[in-house]
Amino acid sequence: MLVVGATLAFAMLLSPTQVAHAQDALPLEELEQLAFEDATRFVQDSVVQVETFGGAEIVNRQLTIQGPSSGTVLTADGWIVTSTFQFKGQPASITVVLPSKERKSARLVARDFSRELALLKIDVDEPLKPATLSDRPGWMIGQWALAIGKTFDPSIGSCSAGILSAQGRIWDKAIQTDAKISPQNYGGPLSDLNGHVMGILTPINPGIVTEGEVEQWYDSGIGFAVPLADVLDRLPRMQKGEDIYPGKVGIRWRGDDEYNQPVVIDGVTPGSPASDAGLEVDDKIVAVGPSLEKLKAIENHSQFKHAMGPLDAGGPFAVVVERRGQRKEFSCILTRELPSYREPYLGLLIDPASDPKNPKVNFVIPGSPAANAGITVGFIIESIDGKPFDDRRTLENRLANSNYRAPIQVGIRNVAGEPSSVKIELTTRPEEDLQWDYQPAAVAQAEKDQAALGGEPKKEVGTVQIPISDVQNKAFAIVPSNYSEKVPHGLLVIFGDAGNLNQSQWAEAWEPFAREHRWIIAVAQSSKENGWSFEEVEIGMRMQNWITRSYSIDRRRIAVGGLATGSILAYIAAAQYPEMFRGVWLSNPKLPQSIRINPSEPFKATSYFINGSDKSVDAFVERIRKNGYAVQRQSSDLDVLKLVEAPLLAPVQRWLRLMEAY
């Protein structure tokens, strides 16, 4: 109440009419009411009706809203800001109805995709009344905020009263209000009690994923406005027809505790602004900003995201890092799209039992970059680009963050123990069915050990029922009879085609592969005969969880598969947990055309094996490849009832084995 009263009084000091009212000894509610009315009258001449004609009705399966929306006048000569909301459907015409009720044809000059705003230009005969900027330092959470639109009448503003609920929302791009926001006043101002504009109402919200995919939050007590000052800052660029996009820098950072962990770089996307500027893995980011003069101190992930949020593509970016105890400053220009990432590939297997600091080559895939560079079994990898490893993870990180287009320098020690350095031209993961054969030395050794020891604690092998209570689904695992705790196994979690599965048939089909190459195959059955429901993705996660706790699993060899109706669940599981599943096998997939595909990133560069003769699959494969993923495509259909046909499974199994390769 204090805030409200003080703000109100402040408003009255500025407005002679209200002071006069106050002296008539009116109760607070009536004073507030007079302030609402005065503010609305003051601001309404800067608000216009925006209308579109024609254009798609449905964009991304959502009905686009018809009927007028609002806009706010920025300059006297006809620059008007509105929300992008009406333009998703590519309208044939845009018109603006001025407070004088005169209708004008408008040009869409530029859009701000980061804030869901659009800039319109109309030709004017008479100067318009631009919105007056509200003074941001004076804002207080809890003060009145009026959402003004031209929903009903072009000359009279419609007013919804609320308060300023919060600042710094949507990664510091928006302020929040509880005034009633709807598509009809999107583009209109959020005004203070002086009729001065705090922000422009927009459909921006935390749920925005891509253009057109705007989750609607209106009428729910939460609405957002982009501060007018931020709109005016970008006006000169937008007036030149430049669209605004969120700026990307191209780094990943360590850990997932938003509020308690410093931002330590875990990966720099090759070819990104960050890598061009010279940022490196292990750099700790301590300050960022649009320039070295306007830095904000960064202590945790959340602060970093808030500092990045308002920065646009094409705009300057300054960053200060701590590198080995020294402060270093870097600058770059943020980009709209990062270069698409593809996982680099060496083509060698590492002995899992070898020293993590000195990984030993177990096998070299014929024709691979490693083979071409002369690396053979028994070599020790000592460094990449001059940097040694602390553990297996560092090795993976070095490789994952290398640019597959550029060569790397690898420090090696040959079988005779002689050190040298070789240049390796990296490639991306193979997309063809490689015929290669190899019996890992470690496996052979483990077999001997097992025979010799015999005393290892016995784990259940064969067809093992996976305990998942409280659901209808049945799940089982095929654990090879030669399972040994000493050898980390691969894990393939399969969502079967809907309906009952013949467990013994499955075991017969997979057991030879599982035994020979040390894999565990876990299979989930749908709870209903006729199909899967999306929630059942969780079953796969629980199976994965149970098996990794019960058996020794190699985290480089965890894959998920889906047969026919089960394929969508496999895809969703992989999309949700890209760091867990390094491979996805989709057999005769049935996927919706519009399914979302996240671009590939280091450690999220799942490789795919997709089989099926249906032509619709090709379109999906093309999209997957475009997003940077390696796909092995086979046109064969797999008869899910005749899984025993080994020739059909053999290519899948070769692909599974390749997952292990660096």
């Binding site: 204090l2 409200v4 009263g5 607070l28 009536e30 009411q33 929903t151 419609s158 009633k180």
Partner: protein
């Protein structure tokens, strides 16, 4: 200046301490104690009504306001009233039978009579005008939440606009097409129709209308029928001079057809193909009016032409002998042309 500063300080203090702090020689500016009384009093003039319904999503209850002498109830004309006796439950829990004495089909309002109830009634003062920005309260029995002597519900809001249902909302299926008060609170819920919209002084500003959704935008409209319209409607009902509701988009007996006007549009292949003119036939009405190929029709008689389908629908309502106006976009120009048969 002194006085202003005093006022400021007093207001802040008043806000902090509420009613505990008060000086006789300063203006009253505390949150008014009046509101509490107002809520108590206005509440007595709103009744809960029960009648027919309960099937197919139609509620069997709604709200009503007591007017004038305290024995007359004004409410929304709906299927709830399709019974011999409408059950009225007053603020103090009395259960009374009411009879419908007249309806106004145009405004969808009805008057009910109860015997000797002596309830406090609202005055119908046609001079009271709602204004955008004005603070309002609704009093309704939304969702039938109150029963017996339980109080009807208050909702607070601000007047968003005074508008006309006819002009702006083509997607609305409402019989009433006149002036409305639009508010920013969710007032128009099941059972709320017929309730009261009051101002800060407890005066009746309007009667809550039926639930209404704009089918084009999917947005629910929260509106009341303003007091001047209500007062005129009550007069008509009492004097027996009500009119039938006029059909909103009357079909013409012999309407215009695009082909006969000489207009050839681009192929209509998508659901919302814009009304782009491909060519204009020689010596046609369209050519005489100055329409050119590549023109885009935006409005016909101020009605939105969103697509070729919409254009056909609007032309259906115009008699072939009548002239009409088009708003056309030509390049970046907006041009008005008149078609004169």
């Amino acid at each position: 200046m002194m006085q202003r500063r005093t006022l400021l300080v007093m207001m802040i203090l008043a806000c902090i301490f509420g009613q505990t702090l008060r000086a006789d020689d300063t203006p009253r500016a505390e949150p008014s104690k009046g509101l509490e009384d107002l809520f108590q009093n206005a509440q007595r003039s709103v009744v809960k009504l029960y009648g027919a319904g309960g099937l197919k999503g139609l509620e069997s209850y709604q709200s009503g306001v007591v007017i004038g002498d305290g024995n007359t109830i004004l409410t929304s004309w709906s299927t709830v009233l399709d019974v011999d006796k409408v059950r009225v439950v007053t603020y103090d829990g009395r259960r009374l039978d009411a009879e419908v004495i007249g309806v106004d089909p145009e405004c969808e309002l009805a008057l009910l009579k109860i015997e000797d109830a002596k309830l406090p009634g609202f005055q119908l003062d046609a001079k009271i005008q709602a204004r955008p920005g004005q603070r309002v309260f609704s009093i309704t029995n939304l969702f039938g939440i109150a029963a017996g002597n339980e109080a009807c519900s208050y909702q607070k809001g601000v007047v968003m606009a005074i508008s006309n249902l006819q002009s702006k909302f083509v997607g609305l299926r409402s019989v009433y097409r006149g002036k409305v008060i639009v508010v920013d609170a969710m007032t128009n819920n099941p059972g709320a129709a017929g309730g009261a919209l009051i101002d800060l002084r407890g005066r009746l500003l309007g009667v809550i209308g039926k639930e209404l959704r704009d089918e084009q935008s999917g947005i629910w409209l929260n509106y009341s029928i303003p007091i001047d319209v209500v007062a005129a409607s009550v007069d008509r009902i009492l004097s027996g001079k009500t009119r039938a509701a006029s059909a909103t988009l009357a079909m013409a007996k012999n309407p215009h057809k695009p082909a006969e006007l000489g207009l050839v549009f681009i192929p209509n292949v998508i659901p919302k193909t814009p009304a782009f003119i491909d060519r204009v036939r020689k010596d046609s009405l369209a050519e005489k009016a100055g329409i050119q190929s590549n023109d885009l029709i935006l409005l016909i008689n101020e009605q939105r032409v969103d697509s070729q389908k919409a254009l056909d629908q609007i032309l259906q309502t115009i008699e072939r002998g009548d002239s009409f106006q088009l708003l056309i976009q030509r390049g970046l120009e907006l041009v008005r042309v008149q078609i004169r048969p």
